[in-house]
């Protein structure tokens, strides 16, 4: 797999991801052997010339298979000066100085064309080092200029250069009180690109991450858990990772997203009795090409030190995955319509636990008529650091609709007044039609979800079967 971090948000999350990935592999890989699992995300580079140790399979120096892109230097520089500096190669970075000014057009059109060649070249080099490239991850935010604009440009580039490799995008959507005024423009313009060029999108909303972080703080501070709480198990924690500096406010939230990506790829990296690869996720959760937005939820948010987990607690984990509080966007999948659902379980959980919980939860969930048993499941034996088991739920559910509708409304509020439009139209290649096409793409998407919602709760008539002449 090849993650691309684009923009400030993307790189900050990306940094947490690499840190936690190293921590996870260190916990599992005690012998220091460069194994299959590690190779999916890291290259083993011998910095001395003889190459002996590489031949023996030992870990010499791990380099992340990644590309870090940002149009201003601050964040990337910090990463390169920080504890992870050895994990990245200068050849994997693309930076500029002045930033994109929170302007999608600058990111997409201006920097896009300027850096196209450089990006393609570095991409090819990095890809060459991979035995088998299964999927690209793009991590970015939608509201700004670089992540949103250049990020979606890279997306298109990936489709052109490597059409067969899956493109997963983790997108952080702006909240209503976002401090960037033009975030609705940037987001909608980016949405059109996601609609057309991404295989799967995992939308994330900062509000949800914030709520989760708060919830964890409350639980810790209320003293209910006391000393039995395992610090490393917090889905927000960096304990045990390379980062020792005091955490900045977004760090905890970014850790959650990093954990999401770790869990998503865990079955591809580690063994289990029912493997679930990324291409399987795309296959099972995307019934129609444009409906590829997946709502994710992670549980547990923390574990207690009690190692003997009674199955009641295990069952609680499954229930939590479907509760509002654990979703990474502001949505309530339980009250909307499921097109498909995937459960990836890590740790000492068996198929009978999985089945028991699916049976238990099924009656309270609404699945579309042609996919009443629309469950995709995976079992990975290796749990995340600090946990005995964990669950990642991915839902293709119409509850994403409100997020998109709000986005559309905020967009129209600005667009009707033509506010800030000139900043965009100044950029070469940018026209008003870009805006109208983008909003129309979003409207179509919302309409598709509406159509599906309309079928919810209606009478179910199965289509009649083929008749065979006897």
């Amino acid at each position: 797999s090849l993650p691309f971090a684009v923009g400030q948000c993307g790189n900050q999350v990306g940094c947490r991801f690499w840190d936690l990935a190293l921590r996870e592999h260190a916990a599992v890989n005690k012998k220091g052997i460069y194994d299959e699992a590690l190779s999916s995300f890291f290259r083993n580079v011998d910095t001395r010339s003889d190459g002996r140790d590489i031949y023996k399979g030992k870990i010499c120096s791990l380099k992340a298979r990644a590309l870090l892109i940002d149009m201003e230097e601050g964040v990337v520089n910090e990463i390169l000066q920080g504890p992870l500096r050895d994990v990245f190669d200068s050849k994997q970075l693309i930076t500029d100085v002045s930033g994109s000014g929170n302007n999608w057009a600058v990111g997409h059109k201006l920097y896009g064309s300027q850096y196209q060649e450089s990006i393609v070249e570095k991409l090819r080099k990095t890809a060459e080092h991979c035995d088998c490239l299964q999927c690209f991850f793009i991590i970015h935010s939608m509201g700004g200029g670089t992540g949103s604009g250049l990020g979606t440009f890279v997306l298109k580039l990936l489709e052109d250069e490597f059409p067969e490799v899956y493109r997963f995008v983790t997108s952080v959507y702006p909240s209503g009180e976002d401090d960037v005024v033009t975030s609705p423009y940037n987001s909608v313009l980016a949405m059109k690109e996601l609609n057309e060029h991404a295989d799967c999108v995992l939308p994330i909303e900062n509000e949800s991450l914030f709520d989760i972080v708060n919830k964890i703080h409350q639980m810790i501070n209320s003293g209910k858990l006391g000393s039995t709480l395992k610090q490393t198990s917090l889905v927000t924690s960096s304990v045990g990772s390379a980062k020792t500096v005091q955490e900045k406010p977004f760090d905890a939230m970014n850790n959650i997203v990093a954990n999401l990506l770790l869990n998503l790829t865990s079955s591809a990296r580690f063994e289990g009795s029912l493997n679930m690869d990324l291409n399987e996720i795309s296959m099972n959760l995307v019934p129609f090409p444009r409906l590829h937005y997946l709502v994710s939820s992670l549980t547990p948010l923390y574990t207690l030190a009690d190692v003997n987990v009674p199955s009641r607690r295990l069952d609680q984990m499954f229930s939590d995955a479907f509760s509002r509080d654990h979703q990474l966007i502001q949505a309530d999948p339980k009250h909307s319509l499921y097109l498909a659902c995937a459960l990836l379980v890590r740790g000492n959980v068996q198929v009978s636990d999985l089945r028991r919980n699916i049976e238990r939860l099924k009656p309270s969930l609404h699945f579309i008529s042609w996919n009443q048993e629309g469950w995709k499941t995976g079992l990975c034996s290796v749990p995340p650091v600090g946990h005995t088991h964990s669950l990642l739920a991915l839902a293709n559910n119409t509850c994403v609709k409100p997020t998109f509708i709000q986005l559309k409304d905020r967009f129209l509020k600005l667009y009707k007044k033509k506010a800030h439009l000139h900043h965009y139209l100044h950029v070469d290649g940018m026209e008003e039609s870009c805006f109208s096409e983008a909003i129309s793409s979003l409207s179509d998407l919302i309409a598709e979800y509406n159509e599906l919602d309309a079928t919810k709760g209606g009478p179910r008539t199965d289509p009649s079967r083929l008749k065979i002449a006897v």
């Binding site: 088998c132 493997n275 291409n279 129609f288 469950w375 995709k376 079967r465 065979i468």
Partner: protein, 452 residues
């Protein structure tokens, strides 16, 4: 004669490993309850069928392992070698890195042709190692992408390359409530294609085995490993050496015998498997069974389509046949009665020579095409299997799988009507027309089994 096993996909490889383990463990075992000569004969026959003796002394399974991602195969090879009792040939496997993504079209249309040569080379090598090739046994699931799609393609290749060999496909029917969302599509495509190249499809349903684990084996937290072990036990109980009627040596052509006795007509290839008794290993020492009891239960399991020996519906009885009722097409068949085309019972252990199987020869159990003598066969051996003092297995070509098949086709059709997920298949070259052909083929099979 030797059988070459082809293990396809995660499921195929996980199960395959358990099968060889069970067979090796049983052949090596000392609780045969028979004479030493008999035991040695049994062990030699079993070894010839499934293993190759090499200079290293540890038997090498006659198997080709195929998967589109590496983790499962590495695990399988390692676990087998660790046992110290048997292993796989280190070179007899083929894997790639990227998997099939649960996409039948990817397995069948992309991976299949791309890797055909490499895979068939491995098969050829294994086939050549056999003094006499008795046929192929493939293990796969229908739900995923590799076992199902690539499995269907490989079966076709086997048929083309070995037109006179027997091919028995062991197919795993997935849990009804999703392991994979597109499992019904994958199943429909797999079954319709296998029907064309395979000689017989031997089916195990995950739901059924799961129940056996829960209710008979008393396992609390059931894992796939538990399920696979039960499956391996059931398969072993059929595939291990036996004497077919009138023979004085262990039969040397198990796959041929199986398909010849059970598949008289190419339209009817779906075989179900039942095994009795099943219990946790630590209860074995305390249980005794009588043959009449076992046979009675097994017969009722057949008639009433019971999945295991608990919860059998004893009310179901075969129809009364008389001279005035036209045989076969009687519409007075009792409800829930499972009509058979052909049955095979395998008896292993103490006193098998004296078992009365007359109740299985009852013509009312069968359709009319075959003489009851031909419709029923029994294989026996005094050598006990896998620590069970007495065990009986039934392989049945009957309406056992009619309902599951109908369910799967129904669900797939429902999804197909809304065109959901179809773009994922057309992307790799399987068009709507191909789906329709598969649906048609299976509706035909359903119809054929229904009117028995």
């Amino acid at each position: 004669m030797s059988i070459v096993t082809v293990q396809l996909g995660q499921c195929g490889n996980q199960i395959g490993h358990e099968v060889f383990s069970a067979i090796c463990g049983d052949a090596r075992g000392t609780h045969g309850l028979c004479s030493r000569k008999e035991s040695e004969s049994y062990r030699d026959a079993s070894k010839e069928r499934f293993f190759c003796e090499e200079e290293s002394e540890v038997p090498v399974a006659r198997a080709v392992l195929v998967d589109m991602e590496p983790k499962v195969i590495s695990q399988t090879l390692a676990t087998a070698a660790r046992s110290g009792y048997w292993k796989y040939d280190d070179r007899s496997h083929f894997c790639q890195k990227q998997g099939s993504g649960n996409n039948w079209a990817n397995g069948y249309s992309v991976h299949g042709p791309r890797h055909k040569e490499a895979i068939m080379n491995l098969v050829q090598k294994e086939a050549e190692k056999c003094d006499r090739l008795g046929g192929f046994f493939t293990i796969m699931s229908m739900a995923g992408g590799t076992g199902s799609g690539l499995g269907a393609f490989v079966t076709q290749c086997l048929r083309d390359a070995f037109p006179t060999s027997f091919i028995l496909n062991h197919v795993i029917w997935p849990y009804g409530t999703g392991e994979v969302i597109v499992q019904n599509y994958n199943s429909v495509l797999t079954l319709s294609h296998l029907y064309q190249s395979s000689d017989a499809l031997l089916v195990h349903e995950n739901d059924v085995i799961h129940k056996i684990c829960a209710q008979l084996m008393n396992i609390k937290q059931i894992s796939f490993r538990d399920v696979n072990r039960v499956i391996a036990h059931q398969l072993g109980s059929v595939l291990q050496p036996t004497y077919t009627a009138g023979g004085s040596h262990y039969s040397r052509n198990p796959l041929g015998d199986l398909t010849e006795t059970l598949v008289p007509h190419p339209e009817y290839k779906m075989l179900g498997l039942r095994n009795i008794p099943q219990m946790p290993e630590n209860s074995l020492a305390y249980s005794t069974f009588s043959w009449p009891g076992l046979i009675k239960h097994l017969r009722q399991m057949l008639i009433a389509n019971a999945k295991m020996e608990e919860g059998i519906d004893w009310q179901v009885q075969p129809p009364r046949l008389g001279p005035s009722i036209p045989s076969g097409r009687s519409t007075n068949k009792p409800l829930n009665f499972n009509t058979s085309i052909a049955n095979l019972v395998v008896l292993r252990g103490k006193d098998t020579h004296s078992v009365d199987l007359g109740s299985f020869r009852d013509p009312s159990l069968y359709t009319s095409w075959l003489n009851p003598q031909d419709a029923f066969n029994a294989w026996k051996t005094p050598r006990a299997f896998n620590k069970y003092e007495k065990s009986a297995s039934l392989v049945s070509n009957s309406q056992f799988l009619l309902k599951p098949l109908d369910n799967v086709v129904g669900k797939a059709w429902n999804m197909f009507a809304s065109k959901a997920y179809i773009h994922q298949y057309t992307k790799f070259g399987i068009e709507e027309e191909d789906f329709l052909d598969s649906f048609t083929a299976l509706e035909q099979v359903i119809s054929s089994y229904t009117i028995l």
